[in-house]
């Protein structure tokens, strides 16, 4: 028996399409701004179209909020704060949040389809990760609302007031949950600004707030582009800004609120290092690398976009990794068997292409998955760069796409030094069966989250956030309350 293994292609049992039905989304033709408990027209009557990035077809028309609309939303939030929410007991706030958690669970399939249509992420991920975690987040913080005295910030901690929250397009509903749940539990009212390219799940969430009979004005949702976000940041009656997005925008926001009374938390970019030692559990480690960089098309701030491999196993790891990359199923995000979906926007696709072109120009060795890509929509084949040096742009800049840079190291010291050689500090991975070394490395990594023998895991009880230019403040856990309390 000496058959050539190349005769054993993986995935040769071709899976017929297994698409989730798009009609489950029940999308409306157009959406207004959710202000004071109602959907209202924007003052300018301006609308914009949100696209399905997988086929470039229009999904819905969404209101463009002007600064006047933002002012209305902040006004509604302020009134709700003063007249209702600050007078609502923690126990009552808690029950509202439990209701919301349950309603998300009840409408989870619809939300998953909406998320996949608007964002381009595989339905498997929106169904198994985004939506259940969003519900879990509300469920977790619901329980805090009447226990704030026990949260470790002293007796009777007070809310900040009106929170302005700006979220990105990579996990639209989950990021909304990360922002809203702790803010409401702590007793704040909110104005949420979803990302321009992914507003729809937040608007379904607005319907859920109506079903939950959340008092009008407690949460307001203003859709729009960057100018809407800027109006929210600059609004004088906002007490708190929470932002998740790029480091460049985060820096600008910090500058704009520096001379105000506004509290600020930032969850920004990253260039996570996934460190592989020679004694790593190899099969699970390969899966972990895949999850680390190709989960959500690599549109993940904490993505393990730099692979640091011990040089003694580098060839072996690369060989196995490339075999696995080739096997990723790229295509229709609604297909239940899709592993990698569409890039969220034309602009993001252009950025990924630009940076990967630098990777080749700077001399890294490029491997591209042999998968075929759909004709329409925004697509980028999973890509791995080997022979990457620290100085390469693809080793330093956040690509925010399905692109992995592979570097090697010789000693644990060198691994740590290379991992830390970044202005970012959001997340890192460590793969080893040796506990003492894993903890030694974890202690030295400058990162807010360290995954050992796993990657890209999230949980409402687990604080998440960065150090250095990856931002400050934590989301999740007891620590996440601090961002919304005057303590």
């Amino acid at each position: 028996m000496s058959e050539d293994l190349t005769n054993s292609p993986l995935g040769s049992l071709a899976y017929d399409p297994a698409p989730e039905s798009a009609s489950i989304a029940r999308l409306q033709g157009s959406y207004g701004l959710f202000i004071n408990g109602k959907f209202t027209d924007p003052s300018s009557h301006e609308q914009f179209t949100t696209l399905n990035p997988a086929n470039e077809e229009a999904l819905a028309s969404v209101a463009q909020a002007s600064s006047a609309d933002v002012d209305r939303a902040v006004g509604a939030a302020r009134r709700a704060y003063e007249t209702v929410w600050s007078k609502t007991t923690g126990a009552e706030r808690s029950k509202y949040l439990f209701r919301i958690a349950r309603l998300i669970q009840e409408r989870s399939r619809e939300l998953a389809v909406v998320e996949t249509l608007d964002n381009g992420k595989p339905i498997r991920e929106s169904r198994d990760v985004d939506i259940p975690l969003a519900a879990a987040h509300f469920f977790y913080y619901a329980g805090w609302a009447d226990k704030l005295d026990y949260a470790g910030f002293g007796p009777n901690p007070q809310p900040l007031g009106v929170a302005g929250q700006i979220i990105p397009w990579n996990f639209p509903l989950l990021m909304a949950a990360w922002k809203l749940a702790p803010a409401l539990a702590a007793g704040n009212t909110c104005v949420l600004k979803p990302a321009e390219t992914t507003p729809l799940s937040a608007l379904v969430l607005a319907e859920i707030f109506q079903q939950a009979e959340l008092p009008p004005g407690v949460v307001n949702i203003v859709t729009g582009d960057g100018s809407t976000g800027a109006a929210l940041v600059d609004h004088p009656d906002v007490d708190k800004i929470a932002f998740t997005g790029s480091t460049d925008v985060g820096r600008m926001i910090q500058q704009r609120v520096a001379s105000s009374h506004k509290h600020l938390t930032l969850e920004l970019g990253g260039k996570g290092a996934n460190i592989v030692f020679e004694d790593a559990p190899i099969d699970e480690m390969i899966e972990g690398i895949i999850d680390g960089i190709f989960f959500n098309q690599g549109h993940v701030c904490c993505a393990g976009s730099r692979l640091l491999v011990h040089e003694s196993v580098a060839d072996e790891v690369l060989r196995r990794l490339l075999r696995r990359v080739d096997q990723l199923r790229v295509g229709d995000p609604l297909d239940k068997n899709t592993d990698v979906g569409a890039i969220n926007s034309a602009a993001q696709l252009a950025r990924i292409k630009e940076l990967t072109a630098y990777g080749e120009a700077e001399g890294a060795t490029r491997y591209t998955s042999s998968c075929s890509l759909p004709d329409k929509g925004y697509w980028f084949a999973p890509t791995v760069f080997a022979d990457v040096a620290q100085s390469h742009r693809i080793a330093r800049e956040e690509i925010f796409g399905p692109v992995l840079s592979v570097l090697t190291f010789r000693t644990p010291e060198e691994a740590v030094a290379k991992a830390n050689n970044s202005n970012y500090g959001l997340a890192c991975g460590v793969w080893s069966e040796k506990g003492s070394r894993t903890l030694w490395v974890a202690e030295r990594l400058r990162a807010g989250v360290i995954w050992a023998n796993t990657y890209n895991r999230f949980d409402p009880t687990s604080p998440f956030g960065g150090v250095r230019e990856s931002g400050f403040g934590r989301e999740g856990g007891r620590h996440g309350l601090e961002a919304y309390l005057n303590v």
């Binding site: 293994l5 699970e284 796993t454």
Partner: protein, 304 residues
């Protein structure tokens, strides 16, 4: 392997298995959705991979006859249904099965080596195998000595498999690891390698006689082992999952695991098997449902 210490050093050099990661990978693959023609292809493939099994003290020649007929013609009304891969029985019934199956492509597989516990003297085990082969068994399903393995006497386990393989002659040897008793995935990986190095044609998860039978993650670890063994030696070893696989849904999940871990060369009865009894009827029911578009009665198919 020249010595036990060499074997031990080799086993120690194998990468560890992170249980959480292995289980997560298996669970993720279990969410694959097989539809339409893929499902039909997979159901037929699964039928052709069944080792139709009866391993009861109450087994009779009559029951074995019935089983053999079922294996050859799973659905007597539909000639397009493939036959099962084998019947799997106790040694004393091999001769009967051989007679019934005749020149059919359905193989006779016999458990041996003091199945299911493996607790007997080596010469008794070898005699067990020799008799089964002499009676016409195409395949021998042996059990490893788990006590020896778990206490670290890996050389003994290895030598025993070598000895059995020798007695098998041209009959194929399936080595049952009894993963449910091996406690850890690291052990599953090590036992897989011992069996392969000692000459196994197949490695098999379970006897079906202990509480924990085949699981997706254990099968995943074994598939990874056969893949790595093939890359190292060029030899393609088969995998048989057995015990507790009762419905088509479970079987298709294993096929997905095979498809995405070792690929096309293993998507054949020559390299992948299901040891099962009631599974076959569920596969037939699902197959008919796919064709008719309506759910069918269990009584559509014979009980054996």
């Amino acid at each position: 392997m020249e010595s036990e210490s060499q074997l031990r050093a080799f086993l120690a050099s194998l990468s560890g298995v992170d249980a959480v990661g292995a289980e997560a990978r298996a669970a993720k693959l279990a969410t694959r959705s097989l539809k339409k023609s893929t499902k039909l292809t997979a159901l037929d493939l699964a039928i052709s991979m069944v080792d139709l099994t009866t391993l009861e003290g109450a087994d009779t020649p009559g029951r074995v006859t019935s089983l053999c007929v079922k294996a050859m013609y799973p659905d007597p009304h539909d000639a397009s249904v493939p036959s099962a891969a084998a019947v799997c029985i106790y040694p004393d019934l091999v001769a009967r099965a051989r007679t019934v199956l005749g020149e059919s492509r359905v193989k006779v597989a016999s458990v041996a080596t003091a199945f299911p516990s493996g607790r007997a003297m080596l010469n008794v085990k070898l005699l067990d195998v020799r008799e089964a082969v002499a009676a016409g068994a195409d395949e021998i399903d042996m059990v490893i000595d788990r006590g020896a393995f778990l206490s670290g006497r890996v050389g003994q386990v290895f030598e025993e498999i070598v000895a059995v393989k020798k007695v098998c002659g041209s009959s194929h040897l399936k080595v049952i690891l009894e993963t449910g008793e091996l406690a850890t995935y690291d052990n599953v990986r090590r036992a897989s390698w011992i069996a392969m190095l000692a000459g196994a044609d197949f490695i098999k998860t379970s006897t079906g006689k202990v509480t924990v039978s085949s699981t997706l993650p254990a099968a995943l670890v074994m598939l990874e082992a056969v893949r790595d063994f093939a890359e190292t030696t060029g030899q393609l070893v088969g995998v048989k999952v057995a015990g507790g696989i009762r419905n088509a849904k479970d079987a298709l999940r294993y096929l997905v695991l095979v498809n995405e871990t070792v690929g096309a060369a293993w998507l054949t009865p020559d390299r992948f098997r299901f040891g099962a009894s009631s599974l076959l009827n569920d596969l037939l029911m699902q197959r008919l449902k796919q064709r008719r578009g309506a759910y069918v009665r269990p009584d559509e198919f014979s009980g054996d």
